[in-house]
């Protein structure tokens, strides 16, 4: 180690110039195909829960508070920005935005919550599988004579119970 090698090192350092980004003062654009936070569009969403079923982090929770209202909750805290939800969404209701500056002091700031109105299916009472397809046939609302005079409607749960009907949704709601 001699003085010359130190001098050489200093020259290399000087030659590189200034490389540091002036980041928070100046915005830094992301690459074109960057995937950031998913944004949900309540106008397009039909509440099919395909996104919730395909999310590897189980980040999207779907719960029915009553017959007519389905709540879709995106927690945002352990989202990996993988884009699977937006890939499977049949209505293209999820956009992978370019937002990455999601730092916050309150984790509920990254939540998104949609209340979706679900209309009641006149054939099965629900628009998704109740128990099994065979048992569905036994439901009263499925019978064709009832359909004809529209006298039967499925009991609304809007005033009855607010806790989620499916047990495994207990994982972590907030």
């Amino acid at each position: 180690m001699s003085l010359t090698s130190k001098f050489k090192e200093a020259m290399v350092g000087l030659k590189a110039g200034r490389v540091t980004l002036d980041y928070p003062a100046h915005p830094r654009p992301v690459p074109e195909n960057f995937r950031g936070r998913p944004i949900f569009d309540a106008q397009k969403c039909i509440g099919c829960a395909a996104c919730a079923n395909n999310c590897p982090a189980r980040e999207i929770l779907v719960l029915d508070v009553c017959q007519e209202v389905r709540i879709l909750k995106y927690l945002g805290r352990r989202c990996t920005y993988c884009g699977r939800c937006s890939d499977v969404c049949p209505e293209k209701a999820i956009t992978m935005s370019h937002e990455f500056e999601t730092a916050t002091n309150k984790i509920s700031d990254v939540h998104q919550r949609l209340d979706l109105f679900m209309s009641t299916c006149q054939r099965c009472g629900r628009c998704f599988k109740e128990t099994s397809p065979l048992e569905q046939l036994k439901l009263k609302g499925y019978r064709f004579d009832d359909l004809e005079n529209e006298r039967w409607i499925f009991r609304s749960r809007s005033f009855l119970e607010s806790e989620p009907l499916v047990d495994d949704i207990k994982i972590e709601l907030d």
Partner: protein
């Protein structure tokens, strides 16, 4: 309040301790990236230290695991007050994609109090810098919760007072075609 306190206390000398309690190393690499000349957080006086006893801020990566939760808690207790904890990455903020498996207890906030969250898997280095800048009060946070509510139910097909219960079903008294 917290922000004012932070600005006063930490001014230009945040010493950070980097704790990985079971993440995949993705976030570690991004944190180290932030310390390189390219992003250079020493502009804000941030310096990496090797012991929690010297640190003001703990950068947590990875979820609280069954095997590391106790060590994480000890490291937190060893830090002198006032102290801040940053949860970096989806694992530390929410437990990661294996949040419901056996060895994962959950987000680090189950073990230690967390002051700032930086979600992402891993977050971009810029996102980490942004989180630090939010903490020291250089910029404002950009996110806020989004809620879409049905304020009004679409017109009901029946009036509740005309309903008569009958087992699982409800009969509409004034049956008429709609």
């Amino acid at each position: 309040m917290l922000r004012n306190l932070c600005q006063k206390m930490f001014g230009r000398s945040l010493w950070v301790y980097h704790a990985n309690s079971g993440g995949c190393n993705g976030c570690d690499i991004e944190v180290l990236n932030v310390l390189t000349p390219y992003y250079d957080v020493e502009r804000f006086g941030i310096k990496l230290v090797g012991s929690p006893r010297h640190a003001d801020v703990m950068l947590c990566q990875g979820p609280a695991m069954r095997s590391t939760a106790r060590a994480l808690r000890c490291a937190y207790d060893a830090m002198p007050a006032p102290k801040l904890v940053f949860a970096i990455g989806g694992c530390a903020c929410g437990g990661g994609i294996w949040h419901d498996s056996y060895p994962v207890l959950g987000p680090v906030e189950k073990v230690i109090p967390v002051n700032f969250y930086i979600p992402g898997c891993p977050p971009r280095p810029e996102a980490i810098i942004y989180g630090v800048a939010v903490a020291v009060g250089l910029v404002d946070k950009k996110v806020s919760p989004v809620e879409f509510k049905q304020l009004q139910m679409p017109i009901p097909r029946y009036h509740p007072s005309d309903l008569r219960g009958e087992g699982e079903m409800v009969v509409y008294e004034k049956a008429e075609k709609i």
